[in-house]
Structure formats: C-alpha cells, structure tokens
C-alpha cells in the first residue's frame, strides 16, 4: 500500500499585515507560533494555549480566530492581520484609539487580542449594543478584570458608526451578523 499524502514540513505563504510572507514550517506549527517565532510579530500573545483566553486573537481573512488553535498550514494563502497591522499611516485604528481614550487596558496582555476581537465584532455588527459587545468579547479574558472600560471603548466606536472600513491587508469586511441568542437559564 502506498504512503498517504502529507508532509511534516511545509511551505506556507501568508499575507501578514499586507505583506507576503513565505516560510517553511513544521506541520504542527500553530499560526501563533509562526507569527511570534517565525515572523517576529509578538503582538499576539501566548496565553492559555487552550482556545480559552483569546490573548492570541488575530484576524484571518477579516475574522477573529484564536491563533493558538489554527495551524499555520490552515492559514496558507490567506490574509492575517495582527495588532501590528491595524494602524494605518501611523494613525492608530479607531478601536485602538478608543481603548486609549477609555483607559481600556491595565497590564495590556489581553489588549491585542481584545482589540482584534472588537474589530471583528464591529465589522459583523457595526451598531452593536452592550449585550452584543459583551457576547462578542466572551472569548477574551482580561485578568485585570478591566471589562467595564473595554466595553465602553468598544461601544464608543459602535456609537460612531463602527470602525473605519479600510484596514490594511483586510478590506473585505462584509455585512454578516453573528447573533448570540441562546437563553442562559
């Protein structure tokens, strides 16, 4: 019987923050590991490593994912945006600016993931209210428990009509809405 296809080392091509990046990685390399150790982009943080805390959140084709639970190989050929790529022309992204204005960070460890989760949420629901923001950020933990200011910061962007549409390397935002309507009893 022939051997199954598949390689333990692969060439992965990503567009990261608008720039094309080609690299050889182990098949088991996570997107987070590749961004941090392969490409030197350390904004996405290594937190729980179990898909729980959200510190590693990045955008994959415009949507938030936990990069500790995505293989670099799964992202091959796709667009990745990290916190390093949010600012345009040296101006912070509106969500970053709002986090600063509302003091929505304390130690800062969760912040890059929190900001990208918020950017993804506001693309899907530009007019998100408090409930939508709370549900939309449920995948991101802040160990400083600074949630109130984080929610204020995101709501302030929503109140201004959502984040600017143009984000470097990721101009494909659509109007899809994700609800979270389960009734918690």
């Amino acid at each position: 019987m022939s051997e199954p296809p598949g390689r333990t080392r692969l060439t992965v091509t990503l567009t990261v923050n608008g720039s094309r990046q080609v690299a050889d990685v182990e098949a088991g390399t996570t997107l987070l590991g590749h961004l941090r150790d392969g490409l030197g982009l350390t904004a996405a943080n290594h937190g729980c490593d179990t898909t729980s805390c959200g510190a590693c959140t990045v955008l994959l084709d415009g949507r938030s994912v936990k990069s500790c639970t995505v293989l670099a190989a799964q992202a091959d050929g796709r667009e990745v945006v990290t916190a390093e790529g949010l600012a345009a022309d040296d101006r912070p992204h509106p969500v970053q600016e709002s986090f600063r204005e509302h003091h929505a960070l304390q130690c800062g460890y969760c912040t890059p993931g929190m900001v990208l989760a918020a950017v993804s949420l506001l693309r899907e629901q530009p007019d998100a209210g408090e409930r939508e923001v709370r549900c939309g950020l449920r995948g991101n933990l802040c160990r400083c428990t600074g949630y109130h200011n984080i929610i204020r910061a995101v709501l302030a962007v929503a109140a201004r009509g959502g984040p600017d549409s143009a984000v470097k390397g990721d101009r494909d935002a659509d109007g899809l809405r994700a609800g979270s309507e389960h009734r918690l009893s």
Partner: protein, 280 residues
Amino acid sequence: MSFAYHRAESLAEALAVLAEHPGRVTPLAGGQSLLPDLRAGRTRAEVLLDIGRVPELSFVEDRGDHIAIGAATRHHELAASGLLAARLPALRAAAAAIGDPQVRHMGTIGGSLAYADPAADLAVAALALDARVVLDGPGGRRVLPFEGFARARGSTVIAPGELLVEVRVPAPAVPAAWSYRKFSRDALEWAVVAVLAVAGETTRVALSGMGPTVVRAGETEAALARGDGAEASAALADAGTAPPDDVRASGGYRRHLARVLTRRALEEIGVETAGRGVAP
C-alpha cells in the same frame, strides 16, 4: 504536535485519500476540538487531511422539506444564515450559542458532529430536530439518522475510510415552536446541561451533558404524548440517563438541571404547566 498535513482541494480528492488509507488519515475541518486534543496529547494523528477549504463541503441549501448543510460549513455561517433564521431558527440559535466568535469562525458542523462531544450545541440540535447525516466512502454514500450516530465522545459509526459530508435537517414550511436552554459557566461555554425542545405532532426533547452522547428525554416525550403537563413531564427528563460526575458538575446536579431546564423549555413552547386532566 507531530503529524503530517495535507490539504484536500476537492471532495473527490479527500474521499480518495481516506479510502486509500483507512485508519491512517484524520480529517481536519476547523480543528477547534481536534487541535487542542492533539496538543494536549489526548489524541494522536499520523496524517491530518484538511478538508476545511473543500468547496463542495460548504453550503446551506434549501431542499424543500429539509435544509442540507455541507459538513465543512462554519458555525458562523450557520449563525448568520437568513435561510436558517427563517426555516430552522432552533439550529441557527444552537450554532450561535457555540463557544465564542473566534471558535465559530473556524469550527464546522461536520467537525462538531463527528467529534461527538456529548455537550455540543449542534449535537443536541441535530438530535432534537431529527437530522440525518450523509457519509461517503469506499462503499458509496449512506444516509443515517443522527440518532444512533454517536457512540461516545470522539466515537461514531463513521467507518474507516468514510467521511461525513452533509447534514440534512427536516424543515417544515413554518418552523415549529422551540426552546433552547443551556446552562454553562460563562467563560468556557461548554454546556453543563442543555435542552432543546421542539413542538410537533410528537414533541421532541433532547439533552446534552447527560451521558456519553446527547440523548432524548424519552420518558418526558412519552409523558407529553399522554397529555401530561410541563411540570410532570419535565420531572422525568433525567430518567434513564447516566450523567457523569466531572469537573463541570456532579451527576446529581446535572439531573436537577435537566429537570429544571426541561420544564422551562416546555413552558416556553406552550406546554401548559399542569397539563390536561391533571389536578391543579
């Protein structure tokens, strides 16, 4: 994590690889359960076959009396589907209740059902809504009821070399009344217990978190068929189940949750509390 990786570009390629190497190739769809298990050493894989971008496996399609969903369709797409909102709102709500947005952006319905986690939102929905699963493999296609598909967490009737390719969910022209009640810790979001009740000629009640697979609350359904009210019917919700004692909850607490959540769900779909012919 030590394994080889191969991305299938088409359904034909994926099926050929699986058929030629049964037992040696593990399908990877979104990876939201498989990758954490691989990393923690709870499971192993020789070759991961990535089916997450196979175009023929990603769709939500109206087929008249049922809605067909490709196995690699992501939870986010189900949660955002206007077709599901109109025809299968209970399934849409179950998809929207999964984990968090990041997980919903990657995870797929086929991955969730094939992983057979007894706490999974889509599994309890598939059972309550009487879904069918379509398996394709060396012996051709077969269509099975979802009931009986899962054996235990991570174990299903999918044969070596087969792939879950499609989920079919009966969809009446006017959606039946339904209620999904999920009890979970807020942060990690796997259900401790959840119940989905769907009204109909026979009201179906399915539970997650009450045993090695999702289960129907058979005694509750029988009581409803007799005309019992929500209270008496729900009191039987845990009958015949074997809820585990684990890190999330004790078995006794799960039994309590099953009864309480079932009563609330039944009341929400319009079952009277006391029922017919029962003294108030």
